[in-house]
């Protein structure tokens, strides 16, 4: 394993705060050397996960704090989202059919894309409910720099 870095961000479970947190996440990852072509996919996956927390973990007027832990090496990025909102139904990310674009115009889907995008953009998702906490890990392999650095 090469050198590795960690940082933590926090935001309220509200759309404006999520936007701000994504901007901080992006610039922190960029500073730590995550390649520019990986940033948009990571931002989008984390955005979808945070949007779900805003909308489903803290529905309606409810809100709360979200902790965002990120860990990065040359080979690997893990972003963990921790909130104390409602758990995922059935204790795991929903596995539903992709919204179908081959329908009449008035039936076209306006939602239900979120988890599919997260799955498309990650190598692994892990969700655990521990006590009152939701912990969602999004894992991204970084195959661009496969070279293994030696640690001392």
């Amino acid at each position: 394993m090469g050198s590795s870095h960690q940082f933590t961000l926090r935001c309220r479970a509200e759309a404006d705060a999520v936007r701000q947190a994504l901007s901080e996440l992006r610039s922190a990852l960029s500073k730590l050397g995550l390649s520019e072509d990986r940033l948009p996919g990571v931002e989008l996956a984390v955005a979808e996960a945070l949007n779900n927390i805003v909308e489903h973990a803290f529905p309606g007027e409810k809100t709360g704090d979200v902790r965002i832990d990120a860990a990065l090496s040359g080979k690997h990025l893990c972003v963990t989202l921790i909130d104390t909102g409602r758990p995922l139904p059935n204790g795991r990310p929903p596995v539903e059919k992709r919204p179908n674009p081959d329908v009449e115009r008035q039936d076209l889907p306006e939602g239900g894309f979120g988890w599919h995008l997260i799955r498309d953009l990650t190598d692994l998702i892990a969700y655990t409910r521990a006590g009152e906490e939701n912990r969602l890990q999004l894992h991204f392999g970084l195959p661009d720099r496969p070279e293994k650095q030696q640690t001392p």
């Binding site: 759309a15 404006d16 999520v18 936007r19 948009p40 996919g41 931002e43 989008l44 955005a47 979808e48 949007n51 805003v54 909308e55 992709r98 919204p99 674009p101 081959d102 115009r105 008035q106 076209l108 889907p109 306006e110 939602g111 894309f113 979120g114 599919h116 995008l117 498309d120 953009l121």
Partner: protein, 113 residues
């Protein structure tokens, strides 16, 4: 959410003057689009060239705006930046729009569209 609108060759070109259509702005986008296209030509082109991020809320808002036009009218997309384009492709929503490389191409490609 700031939108601009011009009509040329009988096509209404709506420009989005925001870097993001995301969960924080999807509702405003939908409202602004509704106002902008309440009346006007049957053919609308949405110029997304200033937008460098959309999430699924933004995508849903664009689809909703198109649906809201009603059966007799159409909405094309133009000037999508690569990351925006990727969201349409991953969700297969690229299939339900005519997509033009740029606003000017959308205006001249009317017959082909």
């Amino acid at each position: 959410m700031e939108l601009s609108s011009t009509t040329e060759n009988g096509i209404q070109l709506v420009g989005v003057h925001a870097k993001r259509i995301d969960a924080a702005s999807a509702v405003q986008f939908k409202d602004a689009m509704r106002q902008e296209t309440e009346t006007g030509p049957a053919h609308v082109v949405l110029d997304l060239s200033n937008v460098d991020f959309i999430d699924s809320s933004g995508l849903g808002a664009i689809v909703a705006s198109m649906k809201h036009l009603g059966g007799g009218r159409r909405m094309d997309l133009a000037g999508m930046t690569p990351d925006v384009d990727k969201v349409f492709r991953l969700t297969r929503m690229d299939k339900i729009f005519t997509i033009h490389a740029s606003a000017s191409k959308a205006l001249t490609a009317r017959k082909a569209g």
